[in-house]
């Protein structure tokens, strides 16, 4: 079964590696489960993970992710909130900077601070200076990496970050800025370039910072592949040099031996294999899947307007008065289960479970349910049959959704699944199921309370 993307790769590695290294899984199957560029690429044995995001929560099959994180020797990382699900299984947590605003680190995984547009003709660049200094004990990530490099040896740090290796923390951000300034000064010294850009005098660093957008006039509009086409060259890396509706590469290569290890047609073919009712090929969310007997409602996980992915799920203003996170269910399905709007319900799948208020609305087609994307797995440790780490009090759809893959190279359904919804208790007069939904950071309260009970004192 092929993996779809790197994040899911890690989940599969953690789920399978013990079996492989202890001889219970053969190499071919291991490579197929985790994805492998070639048949002799080195095989992983991951024992330390560094987390810079909300990995545990933000793709499907949260329970499997948690189990994987718990299986390593040691995890650490940068997190923004004490109650982020990913923080639960980190041995050391460093407070994460908000890249774009705090300090002068690169941001967005490798973007330096001279930034040009992501698309279009890219005939401009800007400079993103620091917005604010790091608050509290937050430090630059690049300082952390450099400190680690120093401890790995002089050769390492000289290879990684020679210019800042001996810079003290107090001077760190200024030293990063000085490097950007160096680049600027060299650029601004170039009289030809400055004239071309229309500067009437050489700008100082301060002037540049006051107006840090530099545009190049474009006389002739650019279009994709213009340069190549004017040279008479084909821009396409296909064997024929043409756009191929039926891919020669796919015809000539065994795609099950390529990185993603799956089957693919040279020309897209729609073939409804799911109707066989075979769990190996049936769609995760369809009624032909044998799981539908126990989990008859087809779950979707639409994007919420109250979050950007999982950002702002912790925001106390995005609660109660603004927004009620709930499991959406149709009138006929609710009636059949004795559920009224606002009742507390247990939503479960064969992968996990969560407790959610019901929003009964006939906008849901009979036979469907919706839990909106981006909520965090928040537990206070209350036992739950399907969740090893406790019942989910907030309601992430990712704990319900499987990450099983279809045999096809791109065949993973990670946004939908099959669930059952059952009533646990009456809701209250206002249409809330959980007292704990009130008043803001319920998740934070639960997590902090648990930590206090474990004897961890600090807020």
């Amino acid at each position: 079964m092929p993996v779809l993307f790197n994040n899911n790769c890690l989940t599969e590695v953690l789920a399978c590696q013990k079996d492989y290294w202890e001889g219970r899984m053969d190499e071919s199957e291991f490579r197929h489960r985790i994805g492998s560029p070639t048949n002799d690429a080195p095989l992983p044995n991951v024992q330390m993970i560094i987390f810079e995001n909300n990995y545990a929560n933000n793709h499907s099959n949260v329970n499997k992710r948690f189990a994987g994180m718990a299986s390593t020797e040691f995890n650490w990382g940068f997190q923004w909130h004490l109650n982020q699900p990913t923080a639960e299984l980190c041995d050391i947590i460093l407070p994460a900077p908000v890249w774009q605003f705090e300090g002068m680190d690169e941001y967005m995984y490798g973007h330096q601070r001279f930034v040009s547009g992501p698309n279009g003709m890219r005939n401009y660049f800007t400079f993103c200076a620091r917005g604010v200094d790091f608050p509290g004990e937050v430090r630059s990530k690049e300082w952390v990496w450099t400190e680690i490099a120093k401890r790995l040896g002089d050769e390492v740090v000289q290879g990684y970050n020679p210019r800042l290796a001996d810079v003290a923390w107090e001077d760190w951000v200024d030293a990063q800025e000085a490097i950007y300034r160096e680049a600027f000064e060299e650029w601004a010294d170039n009289e030809t370039v400055m004239a071309y850009l229309g500067y009437d005098h050489r700008p100082t660093w301060e002037e540049f910072n006051a107006n840090p957008v530099v545009r190049t006039e474009v006389d002739v509009p650019y279009y994709p592949f213009k340069t190549l086409m004017e040279r008479g060259e084909s821009p396409f890396g296909t064997p024929t040099g043409k756009i191929e509706f039926s891919s020669n590469f796919v015809k000539d290569h065994d795609m099950t031996e390529t990185r993603w290890r799956g089957q693919i047609e040279p020309m897209p073919v729609w073939s409804p294999s799911y109707v066989e009712g075979d769990i190996g090929s049936a769609s995760n969310d369809g009624f032909y899947n044998p799981k539908a007997k126990e989990y008859p409602l087809s779950l979707v996980s639409p994007v919420s307007i109250y979050r950007q992915h999982s950002s702002n799920d912790n925001n106390p203003f995005m609660r109660e008065d603004c927004y009620r996170h709930a499991v959406w269910i149709s009138g006929v399905d609710a009636q059949a289960r004795g559920i009224k709007d606002g009742d507390l319900c247990r939503v479960s799948s064969d992968r996990g479970e969560t407790v959610l208020t019901a929003y009964v609305t006939n906008r849901m087609m009979p036979g469907t349910a919706a839990v909106h994307h981006g909520a965090w797995y928040q537990t206070d440790g209350t036992a739950a049959e399907m969740n090893e780490y406790g019942q989910d009090l907030r309601g992430t759809p990712n704990i319900l959704i499987d990450d099983g893959h279809l045999p096809h190279i791109l065949g993973a359904l990670i946004t939908a699944g099959l669930v059952e919804v059952e009533k646990l208790a009456d809701g209250d007069a206002e249409g809330f199921g959980l007292e704990a939904e009130r008043g803001g950071m319920r998740g934070a309260k639960a997590a902090l309370g648990l930590r206090a009970a474990l004897g961890e004192g600090r807020e």
Partner: protein, 247 residues
Amino acid sequence: MTQYGFMFDMNRCYACQACSIACKDWNGLEPGAEKWMGVYEWEQGTFPNIRLHALAFPCGHCEDPACAKACPNGALYKEDEFGAVLVDQDKCDGCRKCYDACPYGAPRFASDEPGTKMSKCTMCVDRLAEGMQPACTASCPLRAFDFGPLGELVEKYGDVRFCEGMPAPDATGPAFLIWNPREKQPLVPYDAEEAIALNRQRGDLGMLFEGAEDLVSFDEGTVRRDELRMKHGTVVEFMRATRNDMA
């Protein structure tokens, strides 16, 4: 005095609450029940003939305002340039008689505490004085609001001042025209009965529901937002009624 008013197109509004936020922002209102623009959502019908409605209603600035007549302190008055109904908070003692009198629930209170002063939509008379549109009208991304002299709006849109679930307009004459939900035309015609029949059967999994009747009748309380309710007993009820359920 030229009476100004609103036209609200129910067909455009999708309950995004931009108007409600713009109003809070312009008027410096705190989060909570002191919310002058209320956006109500409700659903009508059932699968496959479901319809969602939204009504963004601040205040009707009625031609014959019941609130002004009910106020024992003379705190409410109709100002003489735009016909806005305004409240003088110095005279208000929070008795809530205006709320009881108003069929639309336009007077707002920050809390249920006795003595809380009333505040409400001002028709943005401060903006109108500068030649600007009200904040709600200007902020709507769908251009669901029109605003201007009521007579001009009536000529443009016709004199319909209520939708199903709203009070009858002859009581107070709200300066608030409404473009009611239009008849829907299916772009791709389909047989609704056939859709229901197909949806119902699940092969060897049995039936999803017994018959079409199961799709239309439910125990009381199963669906909560199935009608427009503009009057509420507590601020919490008001906040629940004007919360966004578009996820």
